[in-house]
Amino acid sequence: MLKNITNRYIHLLFIAVGIFLIQSCQTSDPVDFSTQIKPILNNKCITCHGGVKKNGGFSLLFESEAFANTKSGKPAIIPGDASNSEFIKRLHTDDPELRMPYEKPKLSDDEIEVLTRWIDEGAKWGEHWAYSLPEKIEIPKIASEAGFAPNTTTSFLQNNIDNFILARLESEQLTPNEPAEKNIIARRAALDITGLPPSLALLKEFENGNLSYENYIDSLLSKNTYGEKWATWWLDLARYADSKGYEKDQGRSIWKYRDWVIKAFNTNMQYDQFTIEQLAGDLLPDPSIDQLIATAFHRNTMNNDEGGTDDEEYRVATVIDRVNTTFSVWQSTTMECVQCHSHPYDPFTHKDYYNLMAYFNNTRDEDTPSETPVLKFYTPTQQKKVDKVLNWVTKYGNKETLKTYKDFLHFSEPVYKAHFFKEFKNSVYDDHASVVFWDDGNLIMENAYTNKANFVYLKYKSHYNGTKMTIRKDNADGEIVGEFIINKEKYTPVTQFPIKEIDEKTNLYIETQNNSVDKEVNILNLYWVGFIQDIPGKNQPGWKDINTEFVNTLNTTTVTVPILAENPEYMKRTTQVFDRGSFMTKTDTVEPGTPETLNGYNKEWPQNRLGLSKWIVDKKNPLTARTLVNRVWHQIFGRGLVSSIEDIGSQSDAPSHPALLDWLALRFMNENNWSIKALIKEIMLSGTYRQDSKSTPNMYLIDPENELYARGPRIRLGAEAIRDQALAVSGILSNKMYGPGVMPPQPDGVWQTVYNGSKWEESKGEDRYRRGVYTYLKRTSPYPSFLTFDAGSREVCTIRRTVTNTPLQALVTLNDPVFLEAAYQLAKKNEVVGDIKESIAAAYEKATYSKIQTSTLEALYELYDKSLIAFNEDPEGTSQFLHFDEKPTAELSALTIVANAIMNLDEFLTKG
């Protein structure tokens, strides 16, 4: 009996197992929207049923749209019921008018099957991986850690990064390369961290074992050259240039911002703080000068000074650029699409764009040629006077007056610029952001607020003596508020005139009279009108002197940098949606707000740029940290973990190592407290990074892009690094930091811009040999050799420099006088008289940080030989070639040719 029961039980068990097996074969895991459904929708459906087009009233962009009624009055997708869902029926039908995708090949059986199953399972709408970030990532366990892996694997595993990399390599049955030789990894790391080859002293310490690899990396990270190298990357994103762009492309003094970036990297400013200061430094409580400089990030937008352009149109273009750049730089998201319509692929709406625009739409800059607001940098003597005024205001005023005076002394805002003027009579809005007055000229300043001031400040250029200006309330018949005489001025001063106190917003009528001048003659250009509350302590002795000191200080000339400054409440602009992206057709008014798809907005954050920047660096934001770690990884490996470094979203490439991306992002925010140096160090210490970069044709076939990291990175150096390295190895690189852009020699006639008198004035002395990051960058005509090596013109945010390989690059490194001078210096400094081979070997080693191979030496020696014969036969050629040498010899000429060849080797131009 017992036996029977047992038998029966076993029998049942078999049946149960059988059913289970059948079931598990049939049902597998539930369909995953993000990885299985969304790609099909994006590739096959969304062109006609998405952001731009919603054919048949059906859109698959947002969950709410996908399940809503279509034109037919019914929803196309009925969750749980695929067979009754029009969405599925249309995939099957044979009627070409009905079958979807319309006029395109039918979906595959697998695709239809998975879509059907998804609907039957309830059509669960999922979120794309990019829009949520997990809280924790497990580090993959590696078989080798259990002790049965080959030696290569053991030496490969240097830190946790390698676990992620090796797990993937093992799944592909690949083994990583051996670690690179010490000299190779030393050069690679130095180029990656500092953009320069290592100093010989440091290299020696590392090579002879006095310095561990980790200490070697630390030592590189502590050098000032680190900030210069990584600033170059950030300045591409910030679209930093020394000119304004567009037709006139006049110079712009904004190098203080470049220096700020270099310092921020060198002091390892936390990335969250780095972000907040650049986006909203001006809105921080009592911002420091440095925090104001940081806001120049968004003053790198172009400024159009071309005659006849509408300043408002280009101000709006600037604001749009700021929205787009902010999202490109911090969120790997292309917002350009959303300017005109809801995003075709990513879950961002048309309105999201204008909500974001509202954050940026209230700064004081207005595309004027003067680029105000610009922050003034006073000399110590000037600063004493500034302090005197501010001390007075501190003593007699309150916090608010102090801020007013600080701001006005530092950047002369807020003021009403010429755009605010209307109803011109015998006056005209001039092209250069001023209003021209004739005799009997007048205009209206609408809705002005005078801050209860007893003075008005005017910035003007007066061409005649004795012009009477009258300011009235409302109109020509209104009460006189102020009346004064303006005389001829050589410059464009800011002058203070007394007015009556007004305590309300009012229209002001401004009029000029000058009977001594003919009609229709320009007597005065008025740039702006400002009202700030009076300097406090009026009854105190010394007030008059302070007031005079204040006005004098406003008229000092200083170094400046354009910055962001927010409109005061009474000058706020409203933001409206532009219909189909056109600034001419404005519709609904919107308030600041962030896209719903991303993290929530903390109520404690203000609804301005400061709040927005805090939202961006909130640890719940799924894109900020991923974007940063992905791009730093790209800088080092030449490829991002998400290879589309511009875009992390539903159209981006799938990450090669998704878990590693998230692990790095979490670690960057949490354990490493937003430290970029810590992130770089972690990557550099990995065995992944330290591998030899050798490949084989077979390996290349398996993994041409080195997506799996079975070898180390091997990438051509960037434009600046190629020049910097040549100057460095030949010993002529200047280590001078900071200051205005320099103009090293470039061919004549490269600068040729209309209506622009500026000239390329060749720098003198060591400024000719400064690092590339300091080279003056004119947008319409960048330094030619950098342009040839793929540096951009920085008109807009550059996320990636596409690396090319062209004959024009060969011409630069072969023939550019900069490279010839470097070759000459390399030859001269390594010439061992009487031993040519020794000289060649020394020059080669100095340049490439490798010992010369016999075959290389032979090839170069042969070149030397041929060159020597040529120069011996042609003494005149020798003196022409080495025209900068006092006594040029054929030997040194030949060695210079060899040095030039060395500096053109792939090995030299590449970090290997």
Binding site: E306, V796, K866
Partner: protein, 503 residues
């Protein structure tokens, strides 16, 4: 392993040596006949699928040489384009768009209805209409109108197809030039020449595929971005060849270095780089070897093609060249030489067409007449010379500015100006095309009686672009490049081929 690499290097060299064979391969590939094997070798041959992508097998021809020739996806009418841009915007009303009615209204106030909702760069208040300042005649068999500012042009008037009602939405030089050359008024998009070179490569591996020549003393208002490559790889940007100084930057060997010595240098570099390839198997190294060889050849070919001294005297006279100077005539002759040598896209910019009437050189009656004189003979010669060499059939010549000019006389600052001038005007202006596949003597589009707006056959800048691409063998809607997660086109989301001017 060495055998395999030698084989790869050998294959590469063989491909170069036998250009014919290569063209054959690529042609097959692009037409989809070559099948799987070839598509893996020449993986970059399908410009329709965004950027040339490396596939699983080996490296593509384009990896070694980004300017390798590719056949267009559709049959093309022309191999090359010469685009003549009059920077500053020439007045259609004094050159090709004859408006006798405008003469009748000369000096009268412009009707308010025309001014409402319009923005002008400088015109303020109510300007006065100004009649044509040139005399017009119908010329050639086509009977198309040409003014006496262009006396030579009548000889070729039957070769060209006019577009009389082109419009643009930009009325400032910089943005309008960008729009005209990149399809967008903002910076950052590739120029037409970059698209063409990216899609087709270059037929002459010793010369750049996209050459830019400037005259008139200045580069265009929008700067070098009008021949920039935008988001396309920089190898596809226009190479400015200069008539003064080195024709291409750094193309001249340093003083005292002979050609032989440069050859030895490059030989040594490439010899060592081949060893480097044996060690690292990185195809970038092979590409570099290739580029150094090409650089050496360019150093010979570029100065040669840029030298007009050796042209026969009658040709020099025909164009009216001034050797050694920077002139539009020289550039027209150079343009012919360049397309003759297989350059894909030649872009000429002539500066100085902004005739506001504020200075004599910028006046409609004097300055403009002089500018026309500078281009009339060279352009006529260019078309005739291309024709007599049988090149006109395989070249597309495009002429135009960034916009047109107002039928009203400019009144900057609401005042009478020193000279007669016209303001910027984007609503209707004239362009023309000539060459392969273009209907000879056609005239498409019509403006109203005073030339203010198009009333028939209006075409946009995008339409012009769509037509140029069509002549090169592309469907402008399919020819895309993926950038920042989006597919970009030269024509953005607009553009229709102007069939009316196609033969």
């Amino acid at each position: 392993m060495k055998d395999l690499i030698d084989k790869l290097i050998q294959e590469k060299l063989a491909r170069e040596a036998e250009a014919k064979t290569r063209r054959h391969f690529i042609k097959n590939c692009a037409q989809g006949i070559g099948g799987l094997a070839l598509s893996s070798i020449f993986a970059g041959c399908d410009p329709l699928t965004t950027a040339p992508k490396k596939t699983q097998a080996a490296f593509s021809e384009r990896d070694l040489n980004p300017l390798a020739t590719l056949a267009p996806p559709y049959s093309s009418k022309v191999k090359s384009v010469i685009y003549l841009h009059m920077a500053g915007a020439p007045s259609q009303l004094e050159m090709f768009d004859y408006k006798p009615e405008l003469q009748k209204f000369d000096g009268q106030d412009c009707p308010q209805s025309l001014l409402e909702g319009k923005k002008f760069a400088f015109i303020k208040g109510t300007p006065k209409l100004m009649g044509p300042q040139a005399k017009f005649k119908q010329e050639g068999e086509s009977g198309n109108w040409v003014s006496d500012y262009m006396p030579h042009f009548k000889k070729v008037v039957d070769e060209v197809a006019f577009l009389k009602a082109v419009h643009t939405d930009q009325f400032n030089h910089g943005p309008a030039q960008l729009f005209m050359h990149t399809g967008s008024a903002r910076l950052g998009r590739p120029s037409i020449g970059s698209w063409a070179t990216y899609g087709l490569g270059s037929a002459n591996q010793n010369l750049p595929g996209f050459v830019v020549l400037t005259s008139g003393g200045n580069t265009p208002d929008a700067g070098k971005s009008v021949w920039g490559s935008g988001f396309l790889p920089s190898v596809y940007q226009g190479v400015q060849c200069r008539s003064k100084g080195d024709p291409v930057l750094y193309i001249k060997d340093p003083d005292g270095v002979t050609r032989d010595l440069k050859k030895s240098t490059i030989d040594a570099i490439n010899k060592i780089n081949k060893q480097e390839y044996l060690k690292y198997a990185d195809p970038e190294i092979l590409a570099r070897i290739n580029q150094y060889e090409m650089a050496y050849r360019m150093q010979i070919a570029v100065p040669e093609v840029m030298n007009i001294n050796n042209e026969p005297e009658n040709i020099k006279q025909m164009f009216g060249v001034e050797p050694g100077k920077e002139s539009f005539a020289n550039n027209c002759l150079l343009a012919r030489k360049l397309v003759e040598d297989g350059v894909r896209f030649v872009q000429l910019f002539d500066w100085g067409w902004d005739t506001h009437g504020n200075v004599r050189s910028g006046s409609i009656d004097m300055g403009l007449r002089n500018k026309c004189r500078e281009i009339d003979r060279p352009i006529t010669a260019l078309l005739l010379d291309l024709k007599q060499r049988g090149l006109l059939d395989e070249t597309l010549v495009v002429w135009g500015g960034e916009f047109g000019r107002t039928p009203m006389q400019e009144n900057r600052g609401n005042k009478k100006m020193a000279y007669k001038g016209r303001d910027h005007h984007g609503d209707a202006f004239t362009m023309w095309m000539a060459g392969g596949g273009i209907k000879k003597g056609a005239c498409h589009g019509k403006t109203d009686d005073i030339g203010f707006s198009g009333i028939e056959g209006k075409v946009s800048v995008h339409d012009v672009h769509a037509t140029i691409l069509q002549q090169l063998g592309f469907d402008h809607e399919e020819f895309t490049y993926e950038f920042q997660g989006r597919n970009f086109r030269l024509t953005d989301v607009e553009g229709e081929v102007i069939k009316e001017i196609l033969a």
